[in-house]
Symmetry: C2
Subunit: 614 residues, 2 copies
């Protein structure tokens, strides 16, 4: 849209009016955080960006990420002025029935990731820019950040990543209004600090007056012309700018104006447009990006009993599926030789993006790639996904189609010790709404579940194991979701043993030990922890007299055991006797078998648990 | 220790020998990551640091943090050469019975925080340096980082924080060996990038040859003399340095030398000392820092029924306790006016440290402060503690005495929307070994539990609520751990209702609704989620016919419901009928009451659940 400078100024004036009116109507929100960004938003939306308001999340169109998500009203105001919905809709801000929430989410068009947990937007923007380039789109991504969130380390992970990837199609604008929530920001208006930081990270960077529209427009032009590196526009602004009694005043963060204050503020801005009553029509997006269909890849080719680590099968599956799935990409955090993402990279180097040791950025970049219609698989040691739990949480709110693989779970990693052992990852991922959580025990189920992940419209988590384990299934075995496999059963089973990963193999050994003593037990491979079919599982427990032994290489809280208990309770099945074997206390270094034994999840402990309740 | 340059060179040679021997003996580990740091470690341990090897974690002594935790053997080698234990003990590296684990933990003297999840050490070091200064110690803290971990954003959070705090007693040495785990690092040997980044963050920074001992010694001297800001020594090194076939070679990360390779390597280094067989004596620390005793503070002064947000009671408790507890300090992430940490700050400004919007750094700084014997309370919105889950995980491995408060839990925050709602925090904190998890429902229990946190030798988490709730307890009420309160009971109760926080108050309303219909129910305030007394709780459930309704403002996974089910199962109590009310799916903006209703955890839903099972 080629607006004149005067027309852009009018847009900025309207954005201020809409933002203040909407927050006053809502009775909450952050009007002053919108006012500092009015000129920036006007210049980005009505001068720089090229996008179709009717198809605002297209790979061909420029994208915008509001990293400072609390300024949502100014985004909604800009979208309304761009014709995406009527201004009356902005006035439904924060209402129960409105899709215009307190912080933006992809429920509405033009938003690719939920923001509001600060410092994530630049990584999402890098993912969008990378995803555009990967798909040969010349579209640009603009990210608006606040200065408060520049304290978040993830911003600097993203800055390093974007420069390393030479994302010349990425522009960051920092609204440096110098006021945080509870006081002045660390650097206040020392603009040169921000410039030095961005330049040190390899960006083009310039400091401008963020309230001078001609200056903002010119800076955006220079950004568009820049080649070989991303660009940062550091805009000196005032929080509450444009209103005499708000500008640069402390105590106004997250506070709407009273009706009287609004009147006084509007009087300073000149004539305010009449707004018709809202028709109540929702502008929620009809559909979010979903994984594309792809043909069935060739089946894996394992032999029963072959020793293969599930982490290695993960890498093999990526390669096998990628051959028939052009949208599949992977991201690594400098552990590709441990997670086996390198199997994909060696076959198709262009499919793997290196995020180095920066897990937060890795996960948010994945969300950006998914918002461009790609199907990303990000992998690292499972314990290091804890580093990115807030990013996973926000991806959950975004309904982002990202796939995450965590290798090296549990004490079975052995000598490296507890810092490298994931013992809380199942608790983490189970508590993400609508997520799928898979925990395969052999190479075939791993490969099949990776394919399922690529087809599933949800955040999917795959937990893989470091040591090699024997192949249990034929290559054509199916692994429905929800589901589990009954590996051992008889009419006289005295208990049901539930295991997954290394503990399933311990359970199979326990089965033999028990059999030698004349005790029959049922052994279940619970490869899918979420969703879970409690009724089907409960039927097995009932068939074994209500006696249940659960063994997991995880802390007792939030993992396999609690998942099973909750699933049974939800369908009204109360197991008579439960023995829950899990890792209690902080583990330490040792040989894998020593640790399984010491922390009570070895075959011997499982067999003993069955014996005590039989 | 005033060693000559030649003596220091000999130390470096011995550190190389010990590191390679230990990893070969262990059959795993990271010898080449030790070799690049040999001169740095020799200079730090045997020239720069002033500490008592018999009391290596004293507030008066210099401290050392090995942020690149995988180089543990070179730390153990240095500690052994410093006389903390015999060199023979280093050869027990990674064994099940050894306290010298694959990555360092505070089990051993001279280690203040577990490392091995990269990028956390500089924050811990900043906490140690801050904690020393707060206690008028002139001691210095040295942190050794690897270049791979410089990609972690937390390093830059720590860098900004340390400079802002003017921590002139903090020196970072970066071992830039240019090789990561799976390939070359992002910046390889472009040393000026690191210098520019540190300088942009306000540090003194210089680039040196990390294998020239005289240069390293001189740089450490300049660092000690620097005033007003922390110092970064950027040491250009080679991974595997000192051994011809290892130096700067890819493919050697995390790989011990074979016995033959070790022979060849040792031959290059000259005579290797004889090492006596290890006596098997453990050098585990006799005790870790524990919270000091303090006199009972005056009781709070609330009136029954008074409306007070538990988050506000948290701040009031900090102030009340701090008056009698000189070691209590608080850390904020720019939300002190929301978490009410500001109540403490207004009374005692020197007790609150501002970490700005950088939760990872906030938590690791807290771990550093705790390692200096202080009792830190760090608070932010509960959802943003997800940003620091890996740091909490590592604090758990460290057995760090940190206290965390998460405000604004659940959908009851209302209009701000899901990005600001913590709905997985209980799952997170329950899955930390030995942690205590508290979820008070009124101001009195909040204040009492904050005092309990200050006295408890464990990671403690307190979940506070945004809206005001009525005071339920007399000011002298006690809240034992584990424990719960029975607020309503009769001989004819048809079900037990368990609530906490906002759902407890909904449960009390449901009680009245049910009573009007002639249905009696038991109402339990489950203020302590971990540890939990399953037998005592189970007795209540049994007394109400095994009928149990649990309501929580949290996702269904890993929270109150699963905690209760697991605690009951652990003592062999199977509730007959369970109704678990929790927040299913991603919530959105709305008024708190609308959301409690829409997501099924309001009084009406609780009463209906009791009715359906009565």
């Amino acid at each position: 849209m080629a607006l004149t400078l005067e027309e852009l100024k009018e847009k900025a004036r309207l954005l201020r009016i809409h933002s203040m009116r909407a927050t006053t109507a809502a009775g909450s929100g952050h009007p002053t955080s919108c006012l500092s960004a009015a000129e920036i938003m006007a210049a980005v939306f009505f001068h720089a960006m090229k996008f179709d308001p009717k198809n605002a999340n297209a790979v061909e169109g420029d994208r915008f990420v509001l990293s400072k998500g609390h300024a949502a009203p100014v985004l909604y105001a800009a979208q309304a002025e761009a014709g995406m919905y009527p201004v009356s809709r902005v006035m439904t801000l924060r209402q129960f029935a409105s899709e215009l929430e307190g912080h933006p989410t992809p429920r509405i068009p033009g938003v690719d990731a939920a923001t509001g947990s600060l410092g994530q937007g630049l990584s999402v923007g890098a993912g969008l820019a990378l995803g555009a380039r990967f798909q040969n789109s010349n579209a640009r991504t603009y990210v608006l950040l606040g200065d408060g969130e520049m304290a978040e380390g993830q911003v600097w992970e993203a800055a390093a990543f974007a420069a390393h990837q030479k994302l010349e199609n990425l522009t960051a604008i920092v609204d440096v209004n110098a006021l945080g929530q509870s006081g002045r920001t660390m650097y206040q208006h020392h603009m040169e600090v921000y410039r030095a930081k961005f330049e040190a990270n390899g960006w083009a960077a310039e400091v401008i007056d963020g309230h001078d529209l001609a200056t903002v427009v010119a800076a955006l032009g220079r950004a568009q012309a820049a080649r070989g590196r991303p660009q940062a526009i550091l805009a000196r602004t005032l929080k509450g700018n444009g209103i005499s009694f708000l500008a640069d005043k402390e105590g106004w963060h997250g506070k709407p104006l009273s009706k009287d204050e609004l009147e006084r503020a509007l009087a300073e801005l000149g004539p305010a447009p009449a707004i018709a009553p809202d028709a109540g029509h929702s502008y929620e997006r009809a559909k979010l990006p979903a994984p594309p269909e792809f043909p069935a890849p060739p089946a894996p080719e394992y032999k029963l009993g072959q020793m293969v680590a599930t982490r290695e099968a993960y890498g093999a599956a990526l390669k096998r599926i990628a051959a028939v799935h052009p949208k599949l990409v992977a991201i690594d955090g400098d552990v590709k030789n441990s997670t086996f993402s390198e199997i994909l990279e060696k076959a198709m180097p262009e499919r793997l993006f290196q995020s180095y040791i920066a897990e937060q950025n890795m996960v948010s970049v994945a969300a950006g790639l998914a918002a461009q219609g790609l199907v990303p698989f990000a992998a690292t040691f499972a314990c290091f996904l804890a580093r990115a739990y807030d990013q996973v949480r926000m991806a959950g709110i975004s309904r982002a189609n990202i796939n995450l693989c965590g290798s090296h779970c549990g004490v079975s990693i052995g000598e490296d010790g507890p810092s490298q052992m994931a013992l809380e990852d199942l608790a983490m991922f189970r508590a993400i709404p609508n997520a799928c959580v898979f925990y395969p025990s052999d190479a075939v189920s791993t490969e099949r579940l990776v394919e399922t992940m690529a087809r599933t419209n949800a955040i999917c988590y795959l937990r893989t194991t470091r040591p090699k384990t024997p192949v249990l299934y034929a290559n054509d075995e199916k692994f429905p979701v929800p589901g589990f496999k009954i590996l051992r059963e008889s009419a006289s089973d005295s208990a049901t043993i539930v295991g997954a990963g290394v503990t399933l193999h311990e359970a199979l050994k326990a089965y033999e030990q028990l059999k030698a003593k004349g005790i029959a037990a049922r052994v279940i491979d619970l490869y899918c922890l979420k969703p879970m079919d409690g009724a089907a599982l409960g039927a097995q427990v009932r068939a074994t007299g209500g006696r249940l032994v659960i063994a997991e290489d995880h802390y007792p809280e939030g993992g396999v055991g609690e998942a099973v208990l909750a699933a049974l309770a939800a369908v009204g099945i109360a197991p008579g006797i439960v023995r829950h074997l899990a890792v209690n206390g902080v583990p330490h270094s040792g040989k894998p078998d020593e640790l399984l034994e010491a922390f009570g999840i070895s075959a011997r402990h499982i067999a003993a648990a069955v014996e005590t309740i039989s």
